[in-house]
C-alpha cells in the first residue's frame, strides 16, 4: 500500500537537506582557502524573509552539530525580535542548546556586530550580510565588480575614499567600512560599526559571512590580516563617544547606543546586551584588545 504522506512533511536536522549542506560546506572551504573572496552558492529559500538573515542561517545550519551551543544577536542584542525568531527556528530544527553567554557559545550568528568580548579558537562567528560587494557603491554591475576583484583593480574604491575626504574632510564611511583581507581582496565586513572592524584582524575565531539574497559566502580565517582602507595621512578611526559612558555600568569603553528617554533626555548604554549584563552583574569580562580601544580609558 502506498502511504499517504502528503501533510506529514518532516524536516531534516537543521532544516536544510544534506546535499545542500554539503554544497555550502564545500563553498565555505573554498572561501577559507581564499580569504575575502566571495564564493557564489545555491542559497535555497528559507522560511525566513530574504534580507532577514538567510545567508547567516545557511552557514549556521550547514555547520551546526548536535553538541553546538548557539547564540544569536541582532544589532548587539540577544533579545532583538528578529534574533529571537531565528533562535527559535534554529532551536526547533536542531534542538541544540542556546545561550546568551558569549563565552559559552560555540557558534555565534550576528547581524551587524562583533561581540564586545574576545572570541576564542573553538568559536565560529557567522555574519548576516546584506550586501557582500564592497565595490557596489562605485560599480553597479556584478560582472564588472567580479572582474575588478579578479584583477585587484581597486582604483575606483580608493578614489571614492579620496573624494569623500576632499568633500567632507574625512572618509565618511560608517558601518560596513571596507577592509583589505590578507593583502589581497577588498571585503565588506557586513555593516558592523567601525568599532568592530579592528577585531577582525588576527582573530582566534573563524569569521564566516553569508549573504543569502545575493548568494555569496566569504570568510576571514583565524590569524588573518584584516586592514581597514586608509591613507598614510588620513587614517581610519573607530566611533568616538567622547567621554560619554553607559548610564547603567559607567563604562565608556564599549560600543554605546544612544537612547532618547521619555523625559526628552539622552542617555548612553552598552550596546552588547550580554556584555552589559555581565558588567552590570560585576562578572569578569575579557574585551577585545586593539590599538584603537587601547586609547580609551575604561
Amino acid at each position: 500500500m502506498i502511504e499517504n504522506k502528503k501533510y506529514s512533511n518532516k524536516y531534516n536536522f537543521a532544516f536544510i537537506d544534506e546535499s545542500t549542506k554539503k554544497e555550502i560546506r564545500r563553498k565555505l572551504l573554498k572561501a577559507v582557502a581564499i580569504p575575502g573572496y566571495q564564493v557564489p552558492y545555491s542559497s535555497p529559500e528559507m522560511p525566513i524573509s530574504r534580507g532577514w538573515g538567510t545567508g547567516g542561517l545557511h552557514v549556521s545550519l550547514a555547520l551546526i552539530g548536535r553538541d553546538d551551543i548557539f547564540k544569536i544577536i541582532d544589532q548587539g542584542s540577544d533579545a532583538s525580535v528578529n534574533a529571537c525568531n531565528l533562535r527559535e527556528f534554529v532551536q526547533m530544527m536542531t534542538h541544540c542548546k542556546v545561550t546568551f553567554d558569549t563565552t559559552e557559545a560555540t557558534l555565534i550568528q550576528s547581524r551587524h556586530r562583533i561581540t564586545e568580548e574576545v572570541l576564542k579558537a573553538n568559536q565560529l562567528f557567522v555574519f548576516q550580510v546584506p550586501q557582500p560587494e564592497p565595490l557596489r557603491g562605485v560599480e553597479r554591475y556584478e560582472n564588472k565588480t567580479r572582474q575588478m576583484h579578479g584583477e585587484a583593480d581597486y582604483a575606483k574604491m580608493w578614489v571614492s575614499l579620496y573624494e569623500s575626504f576632499v568633500r567632507y574632510g574625512d572618509i565618511m564611511l560608517g558601518a560596513g567600512y571596507p577592509v583589505k583581507v590578507n593583502d589581497r581582496y577588498i571585503m565588506a565586513p557586513s555593516p558592523i560599526p567601525r568599532w568592530d572592524v579592528p577585531n577582525l584582524n588576527q582573530s582566534e575565531a573563524l569569521f564566516l559571512f553569508g549573504a543569502g539574497r545575493e548568494k555569496r559566502l566569504y570568510v576571514v580565517p583565524p590569524h588573518t590580516k584584516v586592514e581597514p582602507l586608509e591613507f598614510e595621512d588620513v587614517k581610519f578611526d573607530i566611533e568616538r563617544f567622547l567621554g560619554k559612558s553607559c548610564y547603567r555600568t559607567g563604562s565608556g569603553k564599549a560600543f554605546l547606543d544612544e537612547l532618547f528617554l521619555d523625559d526628552g533626555s539622552k542617555q548612553f548604554v552598552v550596546n552588547d546586551s550580554n556584555y552589559l549584563d555581565k558588567l552590570a552583574a560585576g562578572n569578569p569580562v575579557r574585551q577585545h584588545v586593539n590599538k584603537y580601544l587601547n586609547t580609551i580609558q575604561s
Binding site: A79, V81, Y168
Partner: protein
Amino acid sequence: MGYIAVKGGTDAIHNARELVEFYRLKKAVKPIEIEQIRSQLRLSIDKVMGEGGIYATEYAALAIKQMEGDVFEAAFVLRAFRATLQRKFYSETINTREMFVKRKISASFREIPGGQILGPTRDYIQRMLDTAKAIETKEDVETFLAGFAAHIDPAKLADIAHFDKVIDLLKKEGLLQPVGNDEDTTLKDITREAIKFPAPRSARLQMLARAETGGLMALGYSSMRGFGSVHPTVGELRYGAVPVRVKDRLGRVRYIGSIEVTEAEMISEYKAKSKKAIPYYSIGYGLCFGQNDTKAICMGILDRAMRSPEGNSPSNDQEFVLYHTEGIESMGFTNHLKLPHYVTFQSGLNNVRAAIERNAAAVPPSTINPSVIIPSLQPV
C-alpha cells in the same frame, strides 16, 4: 525601550503571531475551504505557483489562505516549502505543440492554423462591478453550469486536438533570425547555483518564469513605451495543458502528469547593427505556470530586450531586469528596513556630527549652511 526591550523580544514576537492569527479569524465566519480557493481563485493560484516555483494548486491555495490572500507572501511560503523538496528528476523538455489548447490567439495574422480561439478570457468583458455576485448562491452556480452544459455539443469535443504554431509559418518562410553561435545555450539550474552575468538564456528564462508579474509588467511596459525599443507583435499566445515526462533510472521516458502553462511568442524586428545585415524577425519567448497572459507577454518582451544588451534602457539590462523582478528577494529586502538599524545608524551619525563640527570650526557661524547634507557612501 521600543521593540528591543531587553528580555521581551520572544514574548513580543509570540504575541504578534497570535494577534495576526486573531485578525485572520476574528469575525468568526466559516473558514474558506481549500477547494473553494482552488476553484474560485484560480488566477491567484496561478500567480502564486509561478512565483513560488512549484506546480501544486492545492499547496498554493493553502498558502493563499494562510497569508490572508497576500500573493507575495503566499508565493514566498510556497517557495520556501519548495526548497525543502529534493530534486529527484529533471523533466524532459515540454513540448507546447502537444498542448491541449484552451486558448490560442495571434495578433500577427488574421487567420492562423486552427483559427483564433479566445478561450476563457476576460479580455472582452465590460469591467463593471457585478453586484449580482454579492448574493451568488449554490443554486445560481448550478443553474449556470446546467445552462452551460446544455449548449455544448459533445460530438464536437472530439475535434479539439493539437495545433501547429504560428512561428512555424515564419520559420518555413525563412523570416526568422537564424539562431547564431553568439547565444549562450548552456543549461543552468538557477535553484542549484547562483546566477552569474552575463547569464545564459536558460538562466534568464528561468529567472523570468519565477519573477513577479507586476515587476515584469513595469519593465516590459517601459520597453514598449519608450525606454527601450521592443514593441513586439503577439505572434502567438496560447494557454492549455501540456504533458510532463521524466526519464526513469532505466532511461525510459515516463509520463507523470500534465500542467497548465501560458506561452507567448512575441515577434519583433531584429535591429541589426551593421548596415548590410538582413532585417530578420526574432522571437521573444515567455512561458509561465497557469493562465497569466500579462506575465508571459512581458517575459517575451524582456527576453527579447535582454538579448540586445547594448541599449541603455533598464529593460535591456540583464542584471537590472533579473535581480529586481525577483519578487521574493525584493520583497524580503524591502521589508528588512523594518529591522532595527540603530548600530549602523549610530556609526553614520558619528561621522555626520564630526563633519558638522569641522564645518562649524572652519567658517564663521553666520555663514554655516544648514542644508549641507552629508550622505553615507555605503548603502546598508
